[in-house]
Symmetry: C2
Subunit: 205 residues, 2 copies
Amino acid sequence: MELPSKSMERAVQELSRLPGIGRRSALRLILHLLRQGNDRMENLATSIQDLSSNSQFCENCHSISDVALCSICNDPKRDGKSICVVEDIRDVLALENTHAFRGKYHVLGGLISPMDGLGPGDLTIDELIEKIKSNGADEVIMALSSTMEGDTTAFYIYRKIGDLSLKLTSIARGLPIGDSLEYADEVTLSRSLQQRVLFESTLSK
Amino acid sequence: MELPSKSMERAVQELSRLPGIGRRSALRLILHLLRQGNDRMENLATSIQDLSSNSQFCENCHSISDVALCSICNDPKRDGKSICVVEDIRDVLALENTHAFRGKYHVLGGLISPMDGLGPGDLTIDELIEKIKSNGADEVIMALSSTMEGDTTAFYIYRKIGDLSLKLTSIARGLPIGDSLEYADEVTLSRSLQQRVLFESTLSK
């Protein structure tokens, strides 16, 4: 399927490099853009250009930001002694949506995954340890996915900072709110039994 | 879900205006682009920018092209007296893939669809009639979708050029190659009965 226009061919190729977008979808998007007119295309091109030139990593939490220190790290009301360790910026957004955390974050930029060629050196684990050692922290909360990669990464960090005098916690694993018990898998159910909490504490929330 | 970076927010907004891409998918794509580095982002932005500044409609067939006359219309080996009328450039690509047509195309730029506010004036029907009248044509083949919009558009064109001395044809409707008869719908089946062809003609292909 050769396209009659070279600039169209190039745009389709660039778009189809994005995950989940094949050649057909890319062509559909490009035709949509062409129908929408030049303004829409210019806007999209400029926004990606701006993203490329403006975005940087927050120097404290390594999240993506337009400025040296992101809005969360720059917020004086937030407790910098409580650090929530997450995989990427999407997890920050998800946790921020809950309004349940008033500390600061540390974005690892991925999880240890030998299969994908990602080792501890590719993540911001050294920066996390450096930050804890120099600034001090009361609590480090691991908010990582409950996968092999998440557990490996959490364990690696635990081995590195486990002997420092701080509270090292992990978000609770258990039966999701609204789920029925009969459909829960054994591992989740056994974990939620082991880590049962005082009934009183569920009432106060 | 407010993003910490303004340039990211803008890029997500622009991307999520594309059909089939919601805010979540847009964010996923943007994070992928950020991981891929600035070069990939610049390439994508430039390709869309180029598309916007370079693409134009072929002055003969109204397909999208980098130059005034697209490669198909510019091909002296193709028969300009045989015109295949299609909805958009994707149909041109699909028909070109068959290698079964050696004439030229006419891209309508859509189908008559009152529900979407598209009337005959929004399409290149006048240009088609003008082209036929001034250049002459031996055959006009309607290769439009078998939908209400496709049938309406074909009928509209038929009413406009039906009294000119040329062969006006439509691509065959019938049982798709490889399909079993028991699963075909009644309309397709009754049409394929009405428009049955000499068995001999199927052998020669």
